[in-house]
Amino acid sequence: MSRSVERSERRLLALEREASLRARLIARDERALVELVDVATPWLLAAVEGVVGRSADAEEIVLDTFRVAWTKIGTLPPDADQRILPWLFRIARNRAIDRLRARRRYRDRLERVATLEPDRAVQQAVEPDEAAQPGWHVHRQVHDALARLPDEQRTAVRLAYFHGLTHSEIAKRLDVPLGTVKTRLRLAFDKLRTALAPLKDWLT
């Protein structure tokens, strides 16, 4: 068996075991923590760096997120609506946005996001498949849904959701009325809800 096939099968086996991940985390199984960290860290870093930039802050927020997850996993309601990875994303994003807004250099960020950074949320990343990066199939579906949005709606989502700007700041940045930004966000999220509804649990 080639090494890549072996690696692929090992990843698939790991994914099959994810259904029991929550129970094992609650039972303080340290290997479950290792597995969660292994799978979730690249996605959490991406979400947090989108807001606070590539910095020591980003790593600290991700680390804090896992600390909260390890401490409070038992408080997560045991129903299908409360899934681990979206829960981690919520914790991480809230902390990242709080951190961003606590910084005095918010204006710098505003300029940097809109003028310099590539649209990482809709770029086709080069990492090839599920075997190399668990969760890749979810990324592909979200990426496709974002790519189907009209440019102006995708830009509003990118600046608000992925980079943490308020709608007033987006309006100023794009030089459009505030109401236009609100409408673009509302229309975009309506479309995304429809597009992403078929996504089933990946890491429950």
């Binding site: 680390l63 899934r83 979206p86 950074e117 989502v157 959701y161 987006i170």
Partner: protein, 243 residues
């Protein structure tokens, strides 16, 4: 528009975190009283919970995943110095080695990589400290860039003819640009290493002397287009230090 209509209209912005602080406080307050908005927000969270995965994943730096596990299980606060502290590195290596013996095959490869990373960092750190200890000359310049105060230091080891170069407190350069070390030589400038700050950490590199340009007389630092691979600086000079 009724009061409730305003909250309906702003649900998406609230979900995205795009409300201004005062608006967000109002919305938070409203949620404590409104079952409909609470249910709709919960539906948004449920249906768009995977949205952050639209971002391209970021490969963690070597050892970061292990740092997370170690910190979470140890209950300690993270410290940027922990990565560099020899004791921390050695402890991580020992702990990793112990876990390698007992972990399953999937974790083993990762733990072995972490052990390798720790050993590489430990060796690099030891080497860096050796150069610093032997340094006959220490050159230093303060640099201000974009309103940020940083520093550029060169520890010149007269025994092995190597330098430890430290760049600290500097913002990340703009895309397509890099901080670059230059050797100031008797025959002109010679291009040195690119110095790339990562995650706000200082850059510490050990470099040898160039094989061209004559005698080395000093060091310079510029912020330079990456595309410039010549021995002629094109960017802004930030520091110029003579031995």
């Amino acid at each position: 528009m009724s009061s409730h209509d305003w909250f309906v209209e702003h649900r998406a912005a609230y979900f995205a975190g795009a409300l201004d602080p005062e608006e967000r406080r109002s919305f938070d307050d409203h949620l404590t009283r409104c079952d409909e908005c609470r249910a709709e927000l919960a539906a948004l969270e449920r249906e768009l919970g995977w949205l952050p995965m639209g971002m391209e994943p970021v490969k963690p730096r070597p050892g970061f995943r292990w740092q997370i596990v170690r910190t979470v299980l140890g209950g300690a606060r993270p410290s940027p110095w922990r990565t560099w502290a020899p004791i921390g590195v050695a402890a991580a290596a020992l702990l990793t080695a112990g876990l390698v013996a007992s972990a399953g095959s999937s974790e083993r490869a990762w733990l072995e990589r972490s052990l390798d990373d720790a050993n590489v960092r430990l060796t690099a750190l030891t080497d860096s400290l050796t150069v610093m200890r032997r340094a006959a000359r220490v050159l230093q310049a303060s640099i201000e860039m974009d309103g940020v105060q940083g520093g550029f230091l060169v520890f010149a080891d007269s025994v092995t003819h190597r330098w430890n170069v430290v760049l600290h407190g500097m913002p990340e350069p703009e895309p397509g640009m890099t901080y670059r070390l230059w050797y100031v030589c008797s025959d002109g400038m010679v291009r040195g290493r690119d110095l790339t700050p990562v995650a706000g950490q200082p850059v510490i590199v050990t470099v040898g002397m160039p094989d061209r340009g004559g005698d080395v007389l000093g060091a310079a630092l510029s912020v330079e287009p990456r595309s410039n691979q010549s021995d002629e600086p094109q960017g802004k000079e930030l520091a110029h230090l003579m031995l």
